[in-house]
């Protein structure tokens, strides 16, 4: 699993590095070919790696945005499911509503983890994170709204008065028809 993660971590499936960055010729068995200047290569080696890093950062940022926008599709699907479930309380509609509430919640909990692979000091993750959070919150609002339409939220006066005990009476009276 660790290996997989490392590969996945660089964002590629596999890579072969053709550039030889070693500076010590004696470390090799084979001498440098004639006309080959090791110094010049050293020079543009840094520019190449810089370019590479830029590309990777771009790629990461792009991916982060993709991840951030992923809940939107979810949101649409959820909306469709909710519409299908109808407005009466039964097992199906309650299940869908609770999953609609639970998914964004768990996603929000793991917001750091989701964006961890794209962490880079060059990449600005704040905006995608915010979008991600906003979309998830949107999904949650949708869930809550569904909960309300199902009548499972205590938003009506009836929900608060239904368990109120009767008021006490100040006066007390008794009597009736006399014994006979």
């Amino acid at each position: 699993m660790d290996k997989g993660k490392a590969i996945m971590g660089s964002g590629r499936r596999w890579a072969v590095d053709f550039s030889d960055n070693s500076l010590t010729p004696y470390s090799r068995d084979i001498p440098d070919p004639p006309g080959f200047s090791r110094a010049s290569q050293e020079q543009d080696d840094s520019t190449v790696s810089k370019q590479k890093k830029d590309a990777e950062a771009n790629w990461k940022a792009q991916k982060a945005w993709e991840v951030a926008q992923a809940p939107f599709k979810n949101l649409l699907m959820m909306g469709f499911m909710m519409w299908m479930a109808g407005n009466t309380v039964h097992l199906f509609s309650i299940g869908i509503t609770f999953s609609a509430l639970w998914q964004p919640l768990s996603a929000l909990q793991g917001v750091g983890k989701v964006f961890e692979p794209y962490k880079d000091n060059k990449v600005d993750l704040l905006a995608p994170k915010l979008v991600f959070i906003a979309l998830n919150l949107g999904a949650m609002v949708l869930g809550v709204w569904k909960l309300n339409t199902l009548g499972l939220l205590p938003t009506h006066a009836s929900d608060w008065v239904s368990s109120l005990p009767p008021a006490q009476e100040v006066e007390y009276s008794g009597g009736g028809i006399a014994f006979h």
């Binding site: 009506h156 239904s162 100040v170 009597g175 009736g176 006399a178």
Partner: protein
């Protein structure tokens, strides 16, 4: 919480749709219910003659029951309850095969088949006057091969054929105030004498030919000294009567057309005579008995009219009629009781000095004095005469005494229940063994294995029988301790006999019974009658080890101003803790919602002059009451004058514990158009869970819940009579809802063309009443629900969440809340004897009405059928809420009879008591019979059913665990194999 409740309710309603009724399975009968049959205080008894061969006795009782009892065990062979208006005046056996009864003041004569009690024929006897009645079944009188029964009633004498009940002849005596005393057949002739009195001074004798109905003779003479209403027949032509002063005995002989009088002062019979003497009615040969104070004299009357005292007995004595034991010998018995003994003496009619039988019988408990005795003889194996005596005691119990022992006894006081209260049983204490009812582990296991077999359908018929027996025995349902569910309680029952019983709710057995001394006849109190029971001392919390007690309120005599009596009875032991004769009358008792320091409930007794008296008379109680004095009111409903009055209390200077009352309001019904026929209030101990009713679309309505709500029904005076006595145009029913603090009429509603009788029940914020609709010729039930409009605008959710509302703050009736009522009427098939409503511990469970039907059964009817919001086409939301589409009549579902196949004969009342389990209510229905059951109005949603198989559950769990282990092992093995591959 509320929303979850909605989900829950919805599931519940779904459940209730799938399983409609609250019916029982056949094998569940008797698990939670019991039924007891009684007959009431015996008035008259006739033994089967030797010829019929069966050992039975036929009795008629004051509860208008005619029954045939087994002489060996006292069981009822057959029984008929004739109804409250059909009092039995005479009973006899004709032709050794029919029981003849004369009832309803001599207007109905019936013949019942002796062995099985089937009615053979019934005759209605008509006559111009109402008078006393008398029945004579002559043994040897025949007209055209037909036995004749002579019945006197309504001023006429009728001769009825015993075979088919046809009238052979009828004669009007044309004397409207003739009160018959005796109907006598002159020895073996066809001549019938009727003797009686007109007013209190004239003696009349009529002589008839029994075959033709011809009036042979009519003699009339004024009695010197007047007539007090008591007479005894000494021979077929001699009658002794007591004069109106109770001091002179007059002997009247009336043979051969001559009426002669002979007067003897009682003082010549007994030396130091004071007060009034009473002649005990009996038919003895040449003898009669006179009661003076505690003495009973046996006096012999000679043909010449001379009187001589034969014997004196120091006790109150009951004397039987004469019984022919052989061709020429006749015997009679007299019985008296001394504390726990009964002395029975049987003598030959002619010979005083010779005792045929003299024995003393021990009773196991106090039963008061002997009221009546009936004797019967049998031939012993040695050809001598044996006697058995049927004895009616002061506590209405019936005993059969034979060979010096009580063969059986029946507690027939329980046929005349006045009031019922419940009491908790003692708490189960640690270390106290109740091993007798407890079963061993082995038995428990055995029982469960049996049950398991039953569930898995492996049981043989024998096993099934064993299971049923086990269930009926139901371990611990008759234990004498409190149970967790609150099913086991004591029913404290006050009866007309003045006897208090404690019945166990588990199996209905009598835990204790007590004939209250204060409710017995005494010199200071002529005719004490029990009125009501009140829970007096109900210990809870820290004082659980104390015994609870009840207050018995009674008074001396039937009038309003008779002095009151209080007695306090321990409900665990039945001991009379104390009793008090009050110096004032009692017309009303108001239990107050306050307790004193010893947890005794405060009671206010109102006397006939309108004064209030506080009990218990302790200074602590007084200080509590004084602080609440300005908030305590009372009201009286005066049926005769048609006035409802409300009173407040004020302190009286002279007496600390008495309070003056001052009238603060009154409602006067115009006597020419309205007459009060029913008033009803909420039960004071009813618990209501919530003040709001949530209706469709999450809207809420606020119930008007007040304990001070009085329902009154009035009818047009013309329509207050029997059914059919008035036309629909001149009859109406008006119902009122009245606040008893301010006298404010909350609602008034008129039903045109309706009449009583009205039965009503008030609960929470609704009233349901039952009446007859003359236009539709059907019974109707109406419901009125009251809602509090002044609370209706409490709709702001934020205020409710933050608690910034005044919905739970105390309210006063003087704030005059605006109310809104809704009502609806439905047809109902039955006429109704009584209506009650289920009550549960917290008031959450939905309600069902308990209707005592005319067939003496108890029918449960869901309150949802009586909901004013029912409409023909309810909306989806309303349907979801559980509103039933409107129909014009209420359904009667045969499975919802609470009494299933049983009848509570002569049903008079239904009492409901909450169990500790919220879903369950205990129902006790009483009349001539008693019936008790447990009832769950919304099914037992909070507990497993009794026949839940724990063994099956255990077995399932064990099987599952085993399965988990086995599959785990298998999967391990497979994995290993895969890895080696």
């Amino acid at each position: 919480m509320a929303t979850m409740l909605r989900v829950f309710l919805l599931l519940l309603s779904l459940l209730s749709i799938t399983a409609p009724a609250f019916s029982l399975y056949e094998d569940q009968v008797g698990l939670a219910d019991w039924h007891q049959k009684y007959i009431g205080k015996v008035k008259d008894a006739v033994f089967h003659t030797q010829k019929t061969g069966r050992k039975r006795v036929v009795v008629s009782t004051e509860e208008n029951v005619i029954a045939s009892l087994d002489l060996r065990h006292g069981e009822i062979f057959w029984r008929h309850v004739l109804g409250p208006n059909d009092a039995i005046d005479g009973i006899d056996i004709a032709m050794s095969k029919y029981v003849i009864t004369l009832s309803s003041e001599g207007s109905i004569l019936r013949a019942w088949n002796l062995p099985d009690g089937q009615m053979v024929w019934e005759s209605f006897l008509q006559g111009p006057y109402s008078s006393k009645s008398s029945l004579l079944v002559p043994a040897s009188l025949r007209v055209d091969k037909d036995n004749v029964i002579l019945a006197f009633g309504k001023g006429c004498i009728h001769a009825i054929s015993a075979i088919h009940g046809d009238t052979l002849w009828k004669k009007d005596l044309e004397a409207d105030s003739f009160e018959i005393q005796y109907m006598i057949q002159a020895s073996d002739s066809d001549v019938i004498h009727l003797v009686g009195f007109v007013g209190s001074s004239e003696f009349d004798s009529y002589t008839f030919d029994a075959k033709s109905g011809e009036l042979l003779k009519h003699d009339s003479a004024a009695i010197p000294g007047g007539y007090s209403g008591q007479a005894a027949l000494v021979s077929s032509n001699t009658l002794v009567v007591m004069d109106s002063a109770g001091s002179t005995v007059t002997t009247i002989s009336f043979h051969d057309g001559k009426v002669t009088f002979n007067q003897t002062p009682v003082s010549t019979l007994i030396e130091d005579f004071v007060g009034k003497a009473i002649i005990l009615a009996s038919k003895l040969e040449g003898l009669f008995s006179v009661k003076t104070g505690t003495l009973t004299l046996f006096v012999r009357a000679t043909v010449e009219g001379k009187l001589e005292v034969v014997n004196k007995v120091d006790y109150a004595t009951a004397v039987s009629d004469l019984l022919a034991i052989s061709e020429d010998r006749q015997a009679f018995a007299f019985v008296h009781s001394r504390s726990n003994d009964i002395d029975l003496t049987v003598k030959l009619g002619a010979d005083w000095n010779h005792d045929l039988l003299k024995e003393s019988v021990k009773m196991d408990q106090e039963r008061g004095s002997v009221k009546k005795v009936f004797i019967n003889n049998y031939i012993r194996t040695d050809r001598s005469h044996g006697f058995r005596a049927l004895i009616v005691m002061e506590d209405h119990s019936l005993l059969l005494v034979q060979q010096g022992a009580i063969v059986w006894s029946r507690e027939d006081a329980l046929a005349s229940v006045i009031d019922v209260k419940t009491s908790e049983l003692p708490v189960e204490k640690k270390g106290v063994s109740v091993a007798k009812v407890e079963e061993t582990l082995f038995e428990w296991l055995q029982g469960h294995v049996l049950k398991l077999k039953g569930t898995l359908m492996l049981a043989s018929p024998d096993d099934m029988a064993a299971i049923q027996a086990l269930r009926l025995k139901a371990s611990g349902k008759s234990k004498m301790t409190r149970d967790h569910n609150g099913f086991r309680k004591l029913l404290i029952v006050l009866t007309k006999a003045g006897k208090i019983f404690a019945l166990h709710t588990g199996d209905g057995r009598i835990i204790w019974s007590r004939l209250l001394n204060s409710l017995r006849q005494s010199a200071t109190c002529e005719a004490p009658t029990g009125l009501n029971l009140f829970p007096w001392h109900v210990p809870h919390h820290h004082a659980l080890d104390e015994n609870p007690s009840v207050l018995v309120v009674s008074r001396c005599g039937p009038s309003d101003d008779a002095l009151g009596l209080l007695s306090f009875v321990d409900t665990y032991t039945g001991k009379e803790l104390s009793s008090a004769s009050l110096d004032h009358s009692v017309v009303q008792v108001i239990p107050l919602p306050f307790m004193d320091s010893t947890e005794q409930r405060l009671h206010l007794l109102i006397d006939a002059s309108g004064q209030a008296h506080l009990y218990p008379k302790t200074s602590y109680a007084l200080s509590i009451f004084r602080s609440e004095l300005s908030n305590v009111y009372w009201y009286s409903v005066e049926v005769e004058t048609g006035i409802i009055k409300g009173y407040a209390l004020k302190e009286k200077a002279s007496d600390n514990y008495s309070f003056d009352t001052r009238s603060i309001w009154s409602i006067v019904f115009p006597s020419e158009s309205e007459k009060i026929i029913k008033s009803s209030t909420r039960k004071s101990n009813e618990v209501v869970h919530t003040q709001a009713k949530v209706i469709a679309d999450q809207d809420a309505m606020f119930k008007y819940i007040s304990k001070n709500l009085l329902f009154v029904a009035t009818v047009a005076p013309k329509a207050s009579g029997d059914m059919g006595s008035s036309t629909p145009e001149e009859s109406w029913l008006i119902v009122y809802l009245i606040d008893t603090i301010t006298g404010r009429i909350l609602q008034r509603m008129t039903h045109h063309g309706a009449q009583g009788p009205v039965e009503a029940v008030v609960s929470e914020n609704w009233v349901i009443y039952h009446y007859f609709n003359l236009r539709a010729h059907r019974y109707e039930m109406s419901v009125i629900e009251i809602y509090d409009q002044s609370r209706a605008d409490n709709k702001d959710v934020w205020k409710l969440i933050l608690g910034k509302h005044n919905l739970t703050s105390p309210v006063s009736s003087y704030s005059r809340p605006e109310v809104m009522t809704r009502s609806q009427s439905y047809f109902f098939t039955h006429s109704v004897k009584s209506i009650a409503v289920t009550s549960t511990a917290k008031g959450i469970t939905s309600k069902q009405l308990l209707i005592g039907t005319v067939g003496d059964q108890v029918l449960a009817l869901d309150k949802r059928f009586l909901d004013p919001r029912r409409s023909v086409n309810p909306t989806q939301a309303e349907k979801e809420e559980g509103i039933i589409p409107l129909t014009d009549s209420l359904p009667i579902i045969p499975q919802s009879y609470v009494t299933h196949a049983l009848k509570v004969e002569g049903l008079r009342g239904i009492e409901t008591v909450p169990a500790k389990l919220e879903s369950t209510t205990l129902i006790f229905a009483y009349g001539v019979d008693l019936f008790f059951t447990r009832f769950a109005p919304s099914r037992t949603y909070d507990s497993l059913t009794e026949d839940f198989s724990y063994a099956l559950l255990l077995l399932t769990i064990v099987a599952l665990v085993a399965a988990i282990f086995i599959t785990w092992i298998l999967s391990e093995k497979k994995e290993l194999r895969d890895k080696w591959r």
